[in-house]
Amino acid sequence: MTSNILLVAEDDAVDALLLERALRRAGSLFRMVRVSDGEEVIDYVQGRGAFSDRASHPAPKVILLDLKMPRKDGFAVLSWRQQLPNGHLLPVVVFSSSALPQDINRAYSLGANSYVVKPAAPERLHSMVAALHEWWGGFNATTPFLPS
């Protein structure tokens, strides 16, 4: 059984709020958990610190990853995942403000599974989140990620 956790790494409270609202409207395939920086993503995935209780913090099904965050940024999380045994079983969708080609290329070269530029128009955000919900929550197949 894979969990229904969508781990959202987002330092901007406004972006997180708008995302959560859009996700609620899209459906209930995911339970959204938000962390605010890369360090917390790593802690969550490894079940360390505040996230040591696996029953209430099961391993995520998909990670939605902002790039520019305090402490460890999104690129650092991607590099860490590349070194992580079975890290490839954990799909990462990059969700960033930046449409710069060098950011997109770097994210993919570090193993990102998808790259989405945060839309400014609310309708675009809604259709994007609806698609994300349906695709990564429904259609996309994964096997459970078990951190060692």
């Binding site: 972006d15 708008l18 403000s97 449409a99 710069l100 309708e123």
Partner: protein
């Protein structure tokens, strides 16, 4: 050969004047060494080695100057040094000769040549000292400048990164919350409030487009680029595919008379040029007119001139000079950021090309022309 002839002629003149060059006087030098073979060979071997080394050093210097040509500063000093050293070598060869043959006069004359070359080089060296210092100083300054440019580039990179990542966040907030107001408080809001919220969102989208276009403008000037043969026909095909939705919704016609040639350019830059010029051509038309843009190319004297001729509303003559400037807009009733043509201008400049605008044939529409290097880059051949 000339030198040998000059020396031979000089010798002949000296002999004619009664100054004997090859005359032998006294005893060979080996008598000074008491004809001790060990002492004689000690001198012979040492002098030969010194002479050979001098010849080798001066040939190396000569080769260096020949290869580097004007690339090294004060190259004549190197040549003077070469002459000085080769004449020093000659002196040592003479030392060997006089051990068995008492040609002391000739040996003396060779020393005169060596002395002349040496003194001339020594004197020529003095005024060079401050020049060398200023050379070192300017090298130091250009290195400092290079480091400075490197730093500026990195700062610009960080600035772009920050614009891309941080500047758009607040806009998403404004747009998002105004949408929430509209959705959650529909009944409480008077109709004009809805109108204002709509306008607010439009402004946000416009600001967002401005930021992303500015970023495109900033990156187009810094993107890695390589000039190589590119098929314009292929670029046009890709453009039409990428703009399919836009072309379809406007029922626009994008046409060519004959296949477009291959030019020396960069595929990414050319794609930017085509997409923006075709996009503009089909966007700025009078209501009710079917947009049409015709693309053609002419090759003359190693230059390919690509024309984009449209049937649009045209550009006011007084605006033509400013059209490629940043944020210049001429048709307020049409949407746009005023950055597209600046991006095109920059892309063309980076390919060492030229761009211009003029009214279309018969004064209808607009003709944009872009000059690029032809692959058969031979001026005069059409």
């Amino acid at each position: 050969m000339g030198i040998v002839a000059a020396v031979a002629m000089g010798l002949a003149i000296f002999e004619a004047l009664g100054i004997s060059v090859f005359s032998r006087i006294g005893m060979p030098h080996e008598f000074c060494y008491l004809r001790d073979p060990k002492l004689v060979w000690l001198h012979v071997v040492s002098d030969v080695l010194i002479g050979l080394a001098y010849v080798s050093i001066s040939s190396t210097l000569g080769y260096l100057v020949y290869k580097a040509s004007k690339g090294i500063p004060f190259h004549w000093v190197f040549l003077a040094f070469g002459l000085f050293i080769v004449s020093c070598g000659l002196t040592h060869f003479m030392e060997v000769w006089v051990i068995w043959e008492p040609v002391y006069w000739l040996s003396g004359y060779v020393k005169v040549i060596t002395a002349t070359a040496s003194v001339a080089t020594a004197i020529a060296l003095f005024p060079l000292v401050p020049k060398v210092f200023s050379l070192i100083e300017s090298a130091r300054r250009s290195e400092a400048r290079r480091v400075e440019i490197e730093q500026l580039n990195q700062e610009l990179e960080r600035f772009n990164y920050s614009v891309a990542h941080d500047l758009r966040g607040p806009l998403r907030g404004i747009a998002g919350f105004s949408a929430i107001l509209r959705e959650d408080y529909t009944d409480q809001l008077p109709p004009e409030a809805h109108d204002y919220l709509n306008k607010m969102q439009q402004s946000v989208i416009k600001m967002d487009t401005l930021i992303s276009d500015l970023l495109k403008y900033a990156t187009i000037g810094r993107q890695a680029m390589e000039l190589k043969p590119v098929s314009l026909e292929q670029i046009l095909k890709t453009t039409v595919t990428l703009m399919d939705a836009d072309i379809g919704s406007r029922h626009a016609v994008v046409a060519t008379k004959e296949p477009l040639p291959v030019v020396l350019g960069d595929p990414v830059m050319l794609q930017v040029v085509f997409q923006n010029l075709v996009g503009n051509a089909i966007k700025f038309v009078a209501p009710g007119v079917t947009p049409r843009v015709e693309i053609s190319a002419q090759t003359r004297g190693g230059v390919v001139t690509v024309s984009f001729i449209d049937n649009g509303i045209g550009i006011p003559p007084e605006s033509r000079a400013r059209i490629f400037g940043l944020f210049e807009r001429f048709h307020p009733q049409h949407s746009g950021t005023g950055i597209g043509l600046s991006i095109v201008h920059r892309a063309v400049e980076r390919m060492n090309g030229k761009i211009g605008v003029e009214p279309g044939p018969d004064g209808v529409g607009t003709r944009f022309w872009v000059e690029l290097a032809s692959v058969e880059n031979r001026p005069g051949v059409s």
